[in-house]
Amino acid sequence: MSYRITGNTGEWEIVVGLEVHAQVVSEAKLFSGASAEYGGEPNTHVSLVDAGFPGMLPVLNQECVAQAVRTGLGLEAEINLFSRFDRKNYFYADLPTGYQISQFAHPIIGKGKVLVDLADGSTREIGVTRLHLEQDAGKSIHDQDPTRSFIDLNRAGVALMEIVSEPDIRSPEEAGAYLRKLRQILRYIGTCDGNMEEGSMRADVNVSVRKPGETEYRTRCEIKNVNSIRFVMMSIEVEAQRQIEVWEAGGTVDQETRLFDHVRSETRSLRSKEDAHDYRYFPDPDLLPLVIEQCWVDELKAALPELPEAKRARLEQEYGVSRYESSVLCVEQAIADFYETVARGADARLAANWMLGDFFAALNRTGRSIEDSPVSAEGLRELLGLISNSTINGKIAKEVLEDMVETGDSASAIVERKGLRQVTDTGAIESSIREILAANNDKVEEYKSGKDKLFGFFVGQTMKAMKGKGNPALVNETLKKLLSE
C-alpha cells in the first residue's frame, strides 16, 4: 500500500531525500591531531589548526578516509579512487577559518544503496547518491549571556560523513526505516556510533509533494538539522501537509531552508533561496587530491565485519530462526554475537525464543544494554541446557533467570540452592495426583461427564502441589492415565 495524503483536491504522494551527517568514529579530527572525543570542557579539544591560526595547515587523517571507504563498502557503493577536498566559504563565528573543508565536486564515495524493511514485511531499496568527508563546525552558545555569544571549538574539525540519499523515499515510515538501517550498518562497521542525542548523527530532510502519476518532481524544501528519527518522520508529515495546502490554495512552494519545531509541530522558514549563501566552492590548495589504491580498498573490504543483511540470512539458515527473529537479533551486532554464543551448544530455536522474550524483558527491566547484560551468554546457554535436558521445566526456568539477574549466580547453582530440580519420579507424581483427585471428586465427575477443559485445572493443581517442579510431560501423561481409570 502506497502512502498517500488526502487533500481537498485528492491524493498526494510525498517525495523525500535525506542528507545524513554521521560523525566518523576516530581518535583524532579530520585534519588535525586534536581529540575527536565527545564532551570535554569547552575548547579543550582544539588544536591551532582547528582554531584557524595564521599559517596553520590541514593534514588529512588517513583513518577517517578508511572509515569513509568502509562505510562505502557497507553501502555497496562505488569507491572513488580519486577524490578531492574543496573549501566551502562562509563566515560564522564557530567556523574559525571562514571555510569548511568538504568534498563538493569529487566525493570519495559514489552511488550505493540501502535495503529497508517495512512493517508490512516488504523490502525497499533506497538509493544512495554519494558520501563525502567534511569537517564539522564548532558550537555557538547564545544562552549564557544577554549580549555575548560563546564559542566551543571542541567539535570544530571533527570528521563527518555526509551521506546523501536519492529522492527515493515515499513515506515517513520509509524515512524512519532508512535511518534505522543506515545507523545499523554504520554501527556494524564501527564508523559512526549513530547517537542522535549527542548529535553524532543528524539529518537534513528534503521534502516535496506531487500528484500520484506525475513524473517530474515539484519544488522541494530542506528541513535542516533534525536530530531524531521520530522528528524526521514527524517533520516530513508536517511539511508535506503544509506544501499540499500551499499547492491546493493555488500557490507555489518556494525552494527554501526550513526548521522543524517539534513543540508546535510545524516547520518555519529559515532562509529563502535568494538569501542562500554563495559558498564559492573551490579546490583546497592546502591539500593534494586524495588518491587511494584499489588494493587498499580490497584490504579494507576483506577486513569488514559481516553486515546486517548477510548476518540475517546466515542466522536463518544456520539456526533455523524466523525472518522476524533474525531481524530483531541483528539490530545490533552485539545482540547477534550474544545470540550466537548462546545458540552454539544449545537449542538454537529455544535460544531465539528466550532472547526475544524473557531475556530482553530482563534487560529492559534492569535498564541494561547487551554489553553490560547482568546474565552472560554462557550463563543463558547453561540455563537453556537445563531445560533441554529436563533438569527444570520452562516455568521454573523463568524463575531461575530472575534469580540469575538478581544474584549473578549460575543457573545450576540456583537450581541446587532452591531445590528446583524437576521431579521425574513417576511414583511421586502419581501420589501427588491421587491426592488432588481425591480432594476434588466433584470435578473428576464433571470431567468424566465430558468437561474436558478441566484437565488444565488438574495440571495446575498438581504443579502447584509439586511447587512447579513436576515434569510437565510426565504430569500430563500420569493425569490422563489416572483420570481414565
Partner: protein, 495 residues
C-alpha cells in the same frame, strides 16, 4: 675587505668557525647598523636585539666547543610573514594587531636549529600583496639605492621589500623571503642582491601566513648565490605538517656553485620580449646571454606560447585563494577586533579597519572570481590556463636546462612614481609570475646597473627540484658580471 660589514654570509661563517670573530661581535655590529640606518629604511617591523644577543652568546659557546650548525652565529632577518614563537608577527597588517604566535614556522625553526641569530621581523607589503612595499601598515620601506643624480626615495620592490633592503644595506647577512608571483626575485633585482624562489613544495609552508597557498614558497635572499645556497639548504626539506611539501632529499646547494655551465643549454623565451620593454633592459638581457655563452653554455631560443596569459590568470588564481585564506582574520579569535552589535557588524568593522586598500581590493576580486556564475569563466578557466603554462615550461625543458630572462621590466622606481592604475603596478611581475604559476624554481642575480645607476637583475628558471643547475648558471653570471656595487645607504659606509 676589512670591515665587519664587508662579510658575506659565507665568509662570516668561515670567520666564526675560525674564531676570527665572535658571534656577539658580529651580532652587535648588525644591531648597531640597524639602529643607525633603519630609522630611514624602515626595513624592520619588529627588532629583537636582546634575543639576538642571547642567541649570539649561545652560538659562541657552541663554536668554542667546535660545535654549531651551518648557520651558527649568523645574523638574519625574517620576513614578518613567518610566525615566530613568542615574537609578534604582523604580515604588515593592522588586522593581526599584537598577535604573538605560540609556535614557530618550519622554515624559521630549521634556521634556528642550524644556529641562526634572528635580528627581527622584516617589513613587507601587507599580506605579501604588492610589488613595491608601499602597502605595509607599518609604512613603506626605502630602497638603500639612490639614482645617480637624485635623492628621490626609491621602492625596494615587493613584497619582500624589507628583506631586500635589509640585506642590501648590510643590516643582516641574509633574510627569508616568500615568493608568490615574484616577491623574492623582483625586490632582489631592485636592491642588487640575489634571491631564490625554490620549487613549490621545497620549503614547508607550515607557520607561514598564507597569501595564495598553491603559489606561496619561501626562499632565501642574500648578497650572493653562495649565501642563498647555504640558507636554502637549511630552510628546505619535507615537512609532514604541510601536505604540499615534497619528500625529496635536500642536496648540497653550495657545492653546485662550482659546477660551471659548460654544455648547458640556456633557453631564451621569445615571448618575454614584451612590448614597451626599455632598450636598456633588452641590452642587459643580451649581455647575460653573452656571459653564459662565453662561459661555455649554448643559447637557444624557445617558445612559451601562453606567457601573455600569465598575469591575468595569476591574478585570478592567487586572489581567489587569498580571498579564502584571509577569511580567518575576522576579529573573533586573535588580532584586532572592532566591536559591533551583531556578528556581521563585528566582521565588517574589524575587517574594514584592519585591512588596507590593496588587500581589500584583492579580497574583492578573489571573491568575485569564485562567485556562482563567474567561477567557470574566471577561476576554472584560469586553472586550465595554468596547466597550459606549466606545460609550456615542461616542453621547453625537454630542449634546454634553464631559461634566462630579465627579472623585471625596469629598475627600481621612486615611491612617488607609483603607477596610479593598480594593473600597471601588476606589470612588475610579468616575468616572474609564469614560473610561479608552473611551480618551477627561479632565481634572480644582480648583474648590472641601469643608466641611472640603479641595479638590475637577471632571472634564471629551472626544472622542478633542479635548483642546483640554477645556482650553477647563476654563479656563472655572478662571476662574469662581477657586481660589487654598493648602495648609497650601507652599514659599511660611515655617515
Amino acid at each position: 675587505m676589512s670591515g665587519i660589514h664587508d662579510f658575506t654570509l659565507a665568509s662570516a661563517r668561515d670567520a666564526l668557525k675560525a674564531r676570527k670573530i665572535s658571534a656577539v661581535e658580529l651580532t652587535n655590529a648588525h644591531i648597531d647598523a640597524i639602529d643607525r640606518l633603519d630609522g630611514q629604511l624602515n626595513s624592520f617591523i619588529t627588532r629583537t636585539p636582546d634575543q639576538a644577543r642571547e642567541a649570539a652568546k649561545a652560538s659562541d659557546a657552541a663554536l668554542a666547543k667546535g660545535e654549531g650548525g651551518s648557520l651558527c652565529g649568523i645574523p638574519l632577518g625574517i620576513k614578518d610573514l613567518f610566525c615566530t614563537n613568542g615574537v609578534r608577527t604582523t604580515a604588515a597588517s593592522k588586522i593581526l594587531g599584537n598577535f604573538v604566535p605560540p609556535y614557530e614556522s618550519t622554515v624559521t625553526a630549521n634556521l634556528l636549529k642550524d644556529g641562526a641569530v634572528f635580528l627581527g621581523k622584516l617589513n613587507l607589503d601587507e599580506f605579501a600583496m604588492g610589488s613595491a612595499n608601499l602597502t605595509s601598515a607599518f609604512g613603506p620601506v626605502e630602497n638603500p639605492w639612490k639614482r645617480k643624480d637624485s635623492d628621490a626615495k626609491l621602492v625596494p620592490g615587493g613584497s619582500s621589500g624589507g628583506s631586500a633592503a635589509a640585506v642590501a644595506a648590510g643590516l643582516v647577512l641574509g633574510a627569508t623571503g616568500t615568493d608568490t608571483g615574484g616577491s623574492i626575485r623582483q625586490p632582489a633585482a631592485f636592491t642588487g642582491i640575489a634571491g631564490i624562489k625554490p620549487t613549490y613544495g621545497r620549503c614547508s609552508r607550515f607557520g607561514t601566513i598564507a597569501f595564495a597557498s598553491s603559489l606561496d614558497q619561501a626562499g632565501p635572499m642574500a648578497r650572493n648565490l653562495q649565501d642563498c645556497a647555504i640558507l636554502l639548504e637549511s630552510m628546505a626539506g619535507f615537512d609532514p605538517r604541510d601536505s604540499t611539501s615534497v619528500d625529496t632529499p635536500v642536496p648540497n646547494y653550495e657545492a653546485a656553485l662550482k659546477r660551471g655551465v659548460k654544455g648547458l643549454r640556456v633557453g631564451i623565451p621569445k615571448e618575454y620580449h614584451v612590448d614597451g620593454m626599455p632598450a636598456e633592459i633588452e641590452a642587459f638581457w643580451q649581455q647575460g646571454m653573452t656571459w653564459l655563452r662565453d662561459a661555455g653554455a649554448e643559447i637557444v631560443e624557445v617558445s612559451l606560447p601562453h606567457t601573455k596569459y600569465g598575469l591575468p590568470t595569476y591574478y585570478i588564481a592567487a586572489l581567489a585563494e587569498a580571498s579564502s585564506n584571509l577569511a580567518r582574520y575576522d576579529g573573533v579569535r586573535f588580532g584586532e577586533r572592532v566591536s559591533a552589535p551583531s556578528l556581521d557588524g563585528l566582521y565588517e568593522a574589524s575587517r574594514a579597519a584592519g585591512f588596507g586598500e590593496e588587500v581589500k581590493r584583492r579580497i574583492l576580486i578573489g571573491t568575485h572570481v569564485l562567485s556562482s556564475g563567474y567561477y567557470d569563466a574566471y577561476y576554472l578557466r584560469a586553472q586550465k590556463v595554468r596547466t597550459l603554462i606549466q606545460q609550456d615550461f615542461l616542453k621547453a625543458f625537454e630542449n634546454v636546462d634553464v631559461l634566462l630572462t630579465p627579472t623585471a621590466p625596469s629598475g627600481a622606481f621612486a615611491q612617488d612614481e607609483k603607477p596610479t592604475d593598480p594593473v600597471q603596478m601588476y606589470l612588475n611581475d610579468v616575468f616572474t609570475v609564469p614560473a610561479s604559476m608552473a611551480g618551477v624554481p627561479a632565481l634572480s642575480v644582480p648583474a648590472g646597473l641601469d643608466a641611472r645607476g640603479v641595479p638590475l637583475g637577471l632571472q634564471l628558471i629551472g626544472r622542478f627540484f633542479d635548483e642546483e643547475t640554477l645556482i650553477a648558471a647563476g654563479h656563472a653570471i655572478e662571476q662574469a658580471a662581477a657586481f660589487h656595487h654598493r648602495p648609497t645607504i650601507h652599514a659599511g659606509v660611515s655617515a
